[in-house]
Symmetry: C2
Amino acid sequence: MTSTRSEIIICRHTYDEYIEMIKAFHGHIAPGMVLGGFMVDLAYRNRPQGEFFDAICETRACLPDAIQLLTPCTVGNGWLRIIDLGRFALSFFEKYTGNGVRVYVDSSKLDGWPEIKTFLFKLKSKKEQDSEVLIREINLARASILAVQKVAVDLGAIKSSRRDTFAVCLGCGEGFPKADGDICLGCKGKAPYLSCARTGLQKD
Amino acid sequence: MTSTRSEIIICRHTYDEYIEMIKAFHGHIAPGMVLGGFMVDLAYRNRPQGEFFDAICETRACLPDAIQLLTPCTVGNGWLRIIDLGRFALSFFEKYTGNGVRVYVDSSKLDGWPEIKTFLFKLKSKKEQDSEVLIREINLARASILAVQKVAVDLGAIKSSRRDTFAVCLGCGEGFPKADGDICLGCKGKAPYLSCARTGLQKD
């Protein structure tokens, strides 16, 4: 806890390198990204044996970006699965056995860190919270407020065979997973659009 | 269609630059990432007026990474929402009005592009498909197989107020959104773990 910021290493990156990565990808230095960096680093140091690991992120807020920046796992390559349980936690697991580790914030260790507690439990609005003081606290607390546990991931529960075969939807005419039925989920009312006009717009 | 690969610009990046970005982030040159680049570029050229736009991706496969690489929208900063309808399509919309554009693959235009059709409808296994020939076809077809439409996004449907207040879960002791009840979704059986041992592992 006495080491300076310049001594911090997050998944082989210096602290300042990681901050630059955050700015370039996430757009701004969000406290959740800084905390997330320490969480990914801790999980990585305890990662399961084996050549490949996949990731699960239990929240959509910030943490998925820390995982995408610091590991080979992204949403689009399928190695990161977001299962939004609303908990600020992540797991790395060996993809064939499901054995892995989970890193979470240990609520019982937050009493000495008022800004972090306020941030995680949203005790103040974003505007009221001093982001600089909060990030300074995160940099002091680091892994001391985190906990690691062993997990066995239920591979059957997270595997999707829905995308095995595709068909043309009788509703919209687009390709969609046959497993969804005769028409796609969009045409079944799951699309988030109030209107969707089939008017051609500029293409070249 | 007569222009060469070196003339291709994808969201202000040269084709080769974009390929390098794919390798660094996504890990390998997936055909869906190349096709996704042309889709994001087309959507971006038709993006809604206004200072900010958010993104919706209708699939989890590849396309979210093309969006994250080529726009400021990421999963973790909340500007990219994945609503998995199983359609290879995306929307950009103005965040206050919901007005936007949607880009999708026009199935009726795929007959001249057998490799792309085979890829999108999974008519062959990944192993059987020649990825080099497929990517060459994508680079020739570009936006000619795509369509753009105007959409009005249902802002009420995609907004989540679930994360407004947090509490300590009576089950696991972790922070979670109060809106989920007395215990978190993980403790309600939604966690993808067969076991979860609260044993401390290495932290420093």
